[in-house]
Amino acid sequence: MAVSTAVRRYYATEIFAKTGRDRAPPNFVPLDDPPTGTAHVEGCRGGGKNILEVAIVASGSGDVARIEDIRVSCGLCNPAMYAAADILCTWSRGRTAAEVLAVDGGDVDQLAPFYALLGGPGRPDDAREKFQYVLAAVQNAVRDHRGEAPVALPEIAEPTERDHDDPDAWDEP
């Protein structure tokens, strides 16, 4: 499936440009401290080893537990997954457990903050699918920090090419 324009642009500037033989985007290297919560999700269809791992360091407990730091690891061959994981790390850092768990990933309107970080017009559906996968993993990492069992992955619809490519709608920088 084609990669949406929004994902392509985000990936090129925020991921590819920051990746090299001696460097990686900051959200994709291990935490400095041992994680207090972890979770994983099979975020790309096809099975095998397409597993996104999320690790957080959080302080406090209950609803006021706060994510101090968060990192992800994956084969990350899929640009949309890369972008979604990066965006969810950025969005989650500093937020409380209550804020993270309040987001209903099944409601696309509630993904608006993530789309805002992605940039561009529209809500490309390849990003929607990966936002939902990564959000589920981040929420389970928070639950793990709180000593709670992980919640089963909700049903996530396969991506379409809705809102994928309308480069003319972009304001060139």
Binding site: T19, G20, R21, C74, L76, C77
Partner: protein, 441 residues
């Protein structure tokens, strides 16, 4: 090339899988480190068991003849010939030093489970052991921790390889302490093809033997490609797999007899016992005590055919020479492509990497695009991932974000330069314009 075009074409005609076509093109199989293709003589040997003597070969000890019927006698003859072929292949002294296993992993588990370690004993390996030669020892460590009640007990230790991934014998020798009871090493790396030199292995064997310890060799990646003489190398236990050398999916464990026979059995039950009573069991001597239940008799017959095919029909020296030429071409074309987003793992000199060439990137999309485009355009089969050396890749590359983005091409004697060129063409296209290939990732 070890083989001219005519010879290579004849060799390739032995492999039915190479006759297949998809989109009018044959397969390009470059995942030989994992599992090779099988030639007709091996397939026919496998079928011969089912067609001619499809019976039980169990219920006896090696060398005894307590079963007498038509099929079983024919099968016994072939099973003993197969065990003898493995003995000769590995340089064992006696056929009963050979245990049939499902694969190298099972063989190494037999050793790690059965060799008695005491609190304070240490097992030494390199920083890059295959999971099959790491996890069984970590489990041995876990058992000792449980037995002693000491959760901090450390059994498994490691030493560093050279920066380029090649073996460092000085580090290995320096890491052997008076407490080292077992040195367990991978002979050739499935990640970058680097191999421990014979003299280095002998030096390690001498050192560990001098203090009463043993040397265990994971030879899964060496036996299919070069002569390996366990006794000459001073190896006490050696594990290998035949599916990496044109055989069926099974393996073998070699053990110096007095050591092998002293191992505690791993999987027990039918056929491992000399006799049983309601309250006790008397196990057979090796190798029977390790071969629980009915075995893969078809696999044994086919293993014999595979060993004969690889060592006699083709020749290990010729295999090595052919792989050398193929990997030289691969390396010669890939090294100039190295950049911030793409590089080759291991030594620069392809001679030091056997038939293996692993490409790596911080950008998973590059690795995926190469794999997909290669498959779609040329039916190329390679392997991506961490290749069961997760611990090494985590240690070396996690901080650089590239531990999981590896793509391995591994050759065998039926591969051609044209196949190498087809892969290189795809790699060049993707690496030179990676952002144009995000849709392929």
């Amino acid at each position: 090339m070890a083989f001219d075009a005519t010879r290579l074409a004849a060799i390739r005609s032995d492999f039915p899988a190479l006759e297949r076509r998809r989109n009018g093109k044959p397969p390009i199989y470059l995942n030989n480190t994992c599992m090779t293709l099988r030639p007709r003589p091996v397939i026919e040997a496998l079928l011969s068991y089912y067609e001619r003597f499809p019976t039980c070969g169990g219920g006896r000890s090696l060398g005894t003849h307590d079963l007498h019927n038509w099929f079983q006698e024919e099968l016994r003859e072939r099973e003993e010939a197969a065990r003898e072929a493995v003995r000769a292949l590995l340089g064992a002294e006696r056929a009963d030093e050979i245990v049939w296993t499902r694969n190298t992993s099972e063989a190494l588990n037999i050793v790690a489970h059965g060799y008695r370690l005491e609190p304070g004993d240490e097992v030494l390996g390199s920083e890059r052991e295959h999971n099959s030669n790491l996890v069984p020892w970590l489990e041995a460590e876990a058992r000792l921790r449980k037995e002693t009640g000491d959760p901090s007990l450390t059994v498994r230790r490691f030493f560093d390889l050279n920066e380029d991934g090649s073996f460092n014998v000085d580090n290995a020798l320096a890491a052997i302490t008076p407490r080292t009871k077992v040195v367990a090493l991978g002979h050739a790396s499935n990640l970058d093809g680097t191999t421990i030199a014979d003299a280095e292995l002998v030096a390690i064997a001498d050192r560990i033997h001098a203090q009463g310890g043993i040397l265990v060799l994971d030879a899964a990646q060496s036996v299919p490609h070069r002569p390996v003489d366990a006794r000459a190398l001073g190896v006490d236990f050696l594990a290998c797999s035949f599916h990496k050398m044109c055989g069926p999916t099974m393996g073998a464990l070699y053990g110096r007899y007095e050591l092998l026979d002293a191992l505690d059995p791993f999987v027990v039950g039918g056929d491992t016992v000399a006799d049983t009573w309601l309250d006790r069991v008397e196990y057979k001597h090796a190798p029977g005590r390790f071969e629980a239940g009915l075995q893969d008799y078809a696999g044994m017959v086919a293993t014999c055919a595979a060993i004969e095919y690889v060592t006699q029909e083709i020749g290990l020296a010729e295999i090595r020479a052919h792989e050398k030429v193929l990997n030289a071409r691969l390396t010669e074309r890939l090294l100039p492509l190295e950049c911030d987003h793409f590089w080759v793992l291991g030594p620069r000199d392809s001679d030091k990497r056997g038939g293996v060439c692993t490409m790596a990137s911080g950008v998973g999309a590059i690795v995926n695009a190469i794999e997909r485009l290669g498959d779609e355009r040329h039916n190329i089969m390679v392997r991506k991932g961490m290749f069961c050396v997760n611990s090494y890749l985590h240690r070396r590359f996690d901080q650089l974000g590239s531990s999981k983005n590896n793509l391995r091409a591994s050759v065998y004697f039926y591969n051609t330069l044209d196949e190498i060129d087809a892969l290189c063409e795809v790699v060049e296209e993707v690496v030179q314009n990676p952002l144009d290939h995000l849709d392929d990732a």
